[in-house]
């Protein structure tokens, strides 16, 4: 059976962890920055994504650190997570290439028709 397609939120969360472990709110901030403010994860949504990714074996806990009397848990990508992210990035890049090519063709055709 084919695996489910990766959601945009999961893609951004995995990308946020690609350059090192991050804690919950650190991921929220990084995702907002990566998406240029288009994806603003609520905490409930974030942990929905995190526990799904954990169950799928794509992320795992890294360490816990005390901060202002609270424990922050950090998460990191697993080997499978890194592979899944690379695969998804390649898929999205390929799709983007097709889109650019088609837009280019349309643009050329439109310019030719009007010219």
């Amino acid at each position: 059976m084919a695996s489910k397609p990766m959601t945009g939120q999961a893609f951004f969360v995995l990308t946020a962890l690609a350059d090192g472990p991050r804690h919950g709110y650190g991921i929220v901030g990084e995702v907002a920055e990566l998406s240029q403010g288009r994806v603003k994860l609520k905490i409930g949504s974030l942990y929905g994504v995190l526990d799904r990714l954990a169950v799928e074996g794509l992320i795992e806990p890294d360490r816990e650190e005390a901060h202002d009397g609270r424990l922050r848990r950090y998460y990191r990508l697993t080997r499978d997570g890194r592979g899944a992210l690379a695969e998804e990035a390649e898929l999205r890049a390929a799709t983007a290439r097709v889109v650019r090519a088609r837009l280019g063709q349309t643009g050329t055709a439109a310019a030719g028709a009007s010219g």
Partner: protein, 346 residues
């Protein structure tokens, strides 16, 4: 020391199952407080007293709770209920679709031929014919699309269409209620609440983590269901035995009871695997059919004979449920479920 802000957020987190809170609550609270607090003691004190979780934040936790309670990853016990609920929703939608197929097949002669069927509730309030009839029949036929959409995995389309399909009946019921022309104390409210609204609400169980629906059997169930329901009924009509036809709530009780009876040998056989989910599904369906029968008893307050018949139908459903209840109880313990995310707790 916990702040007011923290206490408010923890109250929201109570929506989540206990086992999940045990694993994730502290982490979620820390992330939530990080999203508010600035590190400046004065500002943080003010924020702690004045701020609270936004409605979007509450909605995100509620959405997570629905997914966890109804068959998300790591919910071994809830998985069985989630699956049973999804199957029960599909079964109710199948019934709607079968009724809609009948409308298509006997568009004009339908009411005359099988007049025991409930007319669309809207006909209580509006004159027959015209735009309203077209709207009601369009809404009825929409259930076929809702059923097919859910069966093939287009959950969002199914939800949107179903939400639209229940609106005309609601409008007609409200009009009948407000103008005082409701024929019985509850009129068609039980039908609308149990067979229209409840399935639409329960469609939240069809979320991203829900296992895919077995498309082929459900799609085949539509023509099969039509033949199984209408074949005997039309035969009774044709042979002049229409007096034996039950009303719609009675028919639902009989269908569910027959399904329990057909399923009982498998439920009682220890060798058959995965029967418990169907037993749970049948119990949910029996609850819907039983509640509808109970609420529509008031239609017959002046007819002791029909009250007795209705009570007999209720007893039959209860007896049928007793046949599959032990298997349903076992299902919650033995149904294979997705893995628990305890690995993350580390």
């Amino acid at each position: 020391m916990s702040s007011d802000l923290e206490r408010r957020y923890r109250r929201v987190l109570r929506l989540l199952p206990g086992w999940y809170r045990e694993q994730w609550e502290e982490d979620m609270v820390a992330a939530f407080l990080d999203s508010w607090l600035t590190g400046d003691p004065e500002a943080d004190e003010y924020i702690s007293k004045a701020a609270g979780p936004s409605s979007a934040e509450v909605a995100s936790v509620a959405g997570l709770a629905v997914r966890l309670y109804l068959g998300g990853p790591g919910t071994a016990r809830r998985y069985a209920w989630g699956q049973a609920l999804r199957r029960a929703v599909l079964a109710v939608l199948l019934l709607h679709a079968v009724l809609a197929v009948d409308i298509l097949v006997f568009l004009e002669g339908n009411r005359r031929l099988v007049g025991w069927l409930p007319a669309p509730p809207g006909s209580l309030a509006v004159a027959p014919g015209g735009v309203w009839d077209a709207v009601f029949y369009l809404a009825s036929v929409t259930w076929i699309a809702v059923f097919v959409a859910l069966a093939v995995g287009h959950y969002r389309t199914g939800r949107v269409l179903a939400a639209l399909a229940i609106v005309p009946n609601l409008a007609a019921l409200l009009q009948a209620q407000l103008t005082g022309i409701m024929p019985a104390p509850f009129g068609s409210w039980p039908f609308w609440a149990l067979f229209d609204l409840a399935p639409v609400l329960a469609m939240t169980a069809f979320h991203r983590d829900a296992p895919p629906t077995a498309r082929r059997p459900w799609l085949l169930a539509l023509p099969a269901g039509y033949l199984l329901v209408y074949g005997p009924l039309l035969a009774l009509e044709a042979t002049g035995n229409s007096a034996w036809l039950p009303d719609f709530p009675g028919l639902c009780c009989i269908i569910v009871s027959l399904a329990c009876l057909a399923h009982a040998p498998r439920a009682w056989s220890r060798r058959a695997a995965g029967t418990g989910l169907w037993s749970l599904t049948l119990i949910l369906l029996a609850a819907v059919a039983g509640a509808n029968r109970l609420l529509t008893l008031t239609d017959y307050v002046n007819d002791p004979h029909l009250i007795k018949v209705s009570l007999a139908e209720l007893l039959i459903v209860l007896a049928a449920v007793a046949l599959v209840a032990p298997d349903a109880a076992r299902a919650q313990a033995v149904t294979p479920a997705p893995p628990h995310p305890s690995a993350v707790a580390g």
